[in-house]
Amino acid sequence: MLKPHIGDSVLRHEDARFLTGRGTYVDDITLPNQAFAAVLRSPHAHARINGIDASAALAISGVLLVVTGEDWLKQGFGPIPTKSAVNKKRDGSPLNEPPRHCLAIGKARHVGEAVALVVAESHAAALNALDAIDVDYEALPAVTDARKALEPGALLVWDDIPGNFCLDFELGDKAATEASLKASDHVVELDVVNNRVTAVPIEPRGAIASYDAKTDCYTLYNATQNVHANRDTFAEKVLHVPKEKIHHIAPDVGGGFGVKNGVYPEPALLMYASRKLGRPVKWINTRSESFVSDSHGRNQMSKVRLGINKDGKFQALYTETIGDLGAFCWTVGPFTPTGGSARTQGGPYAFKAMYYCSKAAFTNTMPMDPYRGAGRPEASFQIERIVECAARKLGFDPVELRRKNLIPPTSLPLKTAMGLDVDCGDFPQVFERTLALSDRAGYAKRVEESRRKGWLRGFAIAPYMECTGGGPKEFAGVRFQKDGSVELAVGSQSTGMGHETSMPQILAARLGIDFESIKYRQGDTEATPLGGGHGGSRNLELGGNAVHQAASEVIEKGRKLAAHQFDTDEAKVQFEDGHFFVPGTNQTMTMREAIEASFDPSKLPEGMAPGGLDANTTYERGVISIPNGCHAAEVEVGPETGVVRMVGYWVVDDFGTIINPLLCDGQVMGGTAQGIGQALLEVAHYDPESGQMVTGSLTDYALPRADTMPPMTIEYYEGAPTKKNPLGVKGAGEAGCCGAPPAVVNAVLDALKDYGVTHIDMPLTPEKVWRAIRAAR
């Protein structure tokens, strides 16, 4: 019996399963008579496909089917549309969206683009068939850099999209910002690159599609973060079948980080193949394929200008960004460098005026989609780099300069120049607490200790302010059983974050029932009528509040039932700590007793059916919430080799109400690890000549590892729960990626300040750091 409260570190319910190898991922599922699919992917960054001869492949024993782009078009299937929330150019015309068919039609436009699907009796036969397909490619030159793609005369990724231009975007008051910059005592300018990265979830994408001719329905098991929305797209836009005909299930999913948000071609191809062959078809992406067929993220090139007065007060911020989209708009790719990066410009600092504008371009590279933070980490990095740069150039203490410009709590609520509704928080208090944790008093001694060992020590602090996102509605269903068990079904979805723990924890805490009695369901279009899946740090904000709302409905119904039992007026019945009672009397009834009574027709009030405490509810968000916080990092830099090691790390986050600190710590650590990865290690690097992805395996794509991570101190500021939602939560999942890159990069630059090094582009690899030191010497 476990009766947790909000704020308890309930251990993760799912971990016993995961840690003992008993999870059920797509690849653990085997359907009777299943066939195996493999995808033929373009080896070229850009090539005309003059023909595909699959006869030799089809002659291989066990090969059942080869599907080419031409075959696909003949079926009349539609392209996968983008659903970017920003879908118009500045002039109001729609963004330029090339058709994204599930297989390349006529041309391949990036390495890894799906060119054909093969299905065979065995995985081995499918691979043999891939080798036997003869594609007549005519290799074409490629463009892999968005800046070059936008230059006049650049070669075209799409013949009918001039200048490789998808859309442009602006937000804020340009004239006021320009005027304010002009009036500022100083204008500091910096080019900032947010390097292209990819998430590398431990479970690659994969799916099994099974078509049932009797019911004319598909069952799709898919390693996705978003069963409802993606089902709708597969059904309505691609395969042209009613969405009810697709039962979309995400079983255990091993990491998503945005990479599994979008609509990918393979599941649609599998559904077609299953229907055509009359048997289930399974496909699992390899790690090598994942690097060139999972969406990438970041890859923004920005020019940032900060207007600042002699007294150190920030005046204006003007950011111009070029965003790379890759070869297609993908699912919501155009949103990230536009609206996604604009909203949180300026971070937690006060500005008189801000302006953000951007352009997004097509290149012959794997397309972009959200990656943990999707625009907010980019914005956070931009502001923190320009602030550090201003401090160094103008002779301000970086800590003092930040302190001077943080939005004070007395200014809240406010609407930023980017239109962001900042309702509550205490940025100065969070900032000061982070400083206090990081033991500034002992810093000089630590610098000296490092120096004696031959290392340079650096420190930086990076306050951040971001926002949540993702689908604005969420469903929660609470269904009681006679045996006392409870089913909780929520339309948000865990890809490892621990929803099987946090969601039942909210329900158990609200109802005062046994946590262990709750059976959790998610990631299944038949478990919930709607669902927003995972993305934008949305689960607690939407799923959590949906559970909270469902619990409230259960309590309301319980009060009716209790009033009937107590033979009193419903208004007199209160509920607290798992008990219905009438104050001033000894009349009391536990929630457990109420649930039991709800199945006994003799105990029900008029109008209540047996099992009548069930609740099915949809919570709708009003305004996105504003997670914020502060990271501080200490690093050591080896001047001989340029190597950086993380030696200290402190985080104070304001995520509003903390439901489960243990799970929250996991989010902060994971986000920080990915932020450190982007800052020091990771880059999805394309060769500019060939358009090949150079870092196409884990032997070249450098991920952070356990020993990359510093010891971390994490605290939460819980003094400002948001009133934007009943739980008072602000979303926690992506904050680490906002705080870590600037904290780490600025700490390294601080270590190098005596050499006069003021800027190095991420990732800060040993060679780059060594070169910067050497150039300064």
């Binding site: 081995a124 080799t641 032997t699 070249d700 040993p766």
Partner: protein, 264 residues
């Protein structure tokens, strides 16, 4: 992975015979390179000859100033061997830093040197200590064994049985980790031996090599300062996104100095 015949001979003679009888045979030692390569279908031998049950390839023996390590000895065994630790601590130290625990428990010295990956650690010890590679048919001096990128003097079907390392007066190995693969971006093995100072470099070039500039400097003075800021010719070194030839050349000097400082 393509289909293959799996053979597990119980003697050296049977192993060599199995190779002779195979259409396209490959010996399998620890499989740390060969299995991934087969899984990626970049190699498809007709016969895989597993050497794990061949007694002649096992064991560590120290005799008369020679440490002889059987080809099928795992990195973990070498690292943990009290005999190796006492005779050539640098060798035990090198083995303890190869890959990760999984790799060290599976990977073998024979497999490593027969594969001769340009970034492998063991070739630096073999060349740095002037070891002798013993095969089923002859003895090959370190200087003759490694012939180029992934190339060795081994003939078709020739099987490494053991490696004999002469005990140095002092030696050490230092490497700079490749940020992604954690192979040696550069590794330097220095040894002071009765017949002179040797310095072998791995990771930096297409194949392990002796760096004479280091050896000359260290022959004059076997001290870190003698090589710390030494000029290493970068012209034949590897260049990639993780390290330019110039950076690798710089690291050779840095690592050599560190190795000399810890040599014992």
């Amino acid at each position: 992975m393509h289909d293959f015949n799996y053979l597990r001979p119980k003697s050296l003679a049977d192993a060599v015979a199995a190779f002779k009888n195979a259409g396209d045979g490959r010996y399998l030692a620890g499989g740390q390179t060969m299995i991934p390569v087969m899984k990626q279908r970049l190699a498809s031998p007709s016969d895989v000859i597993d050497l794990s049950q061949v007694p002649e390839l096992k064991g560590i023996a120290v005799n008369g100033g020679i440490v002889a390590i059987g080809a099928m000895t795992s990195h973990a065994e070498v690292a943990a061997s009290k005999d190796v630790q006492a005779a050539i601590p640098a060798l035990a130290d090198l083995a303890s830093g190869i890959g990760d625990p999984h790799v060290r428990n599976r990977g073998t010295i024979g497999g490593s040197i027969a594969n001769n990956d340009p970034a492998a650690d063991y070739p630096a010890a073999v060349v740095g200590l002037n070891a002798t590679v013993v095969t089923d048919r002859r003895r090959i001096a370190a200087a003759d064994f490694f012939t180029g990128m992934f190339g060795t003097a081994l003939e078709e079907g020739e099987l490494v049985t053991r490696v004999e390392f002469p005990t140095p007066e002092a030696a050490a190995y230092e490497k700079f980790l490749h940020p992604a693969s954690r192979f040696a971006l550069v590794g330097v093995f220095v040894a002071r031996t009765k017949s002179g100072v040797r310095a072998a470099v791995t990771g930096a070039g297409p194949c392990v090599f002796r760096e004479t500039v280091l050896e000359q400097a260290l022959t004059r003075t076997f001290a870190a300062n003698a090589v710390k800021n030494i000029d290493i010719d970068a012209s034949n070194l590897n260049s990639d996104i993780h390290g330019s030839a110039e950076y690798r050349a710089h690291l050779v000097g840095v690592l050599a100095a560190r190795a000399v400082a810890k040599a014992r």
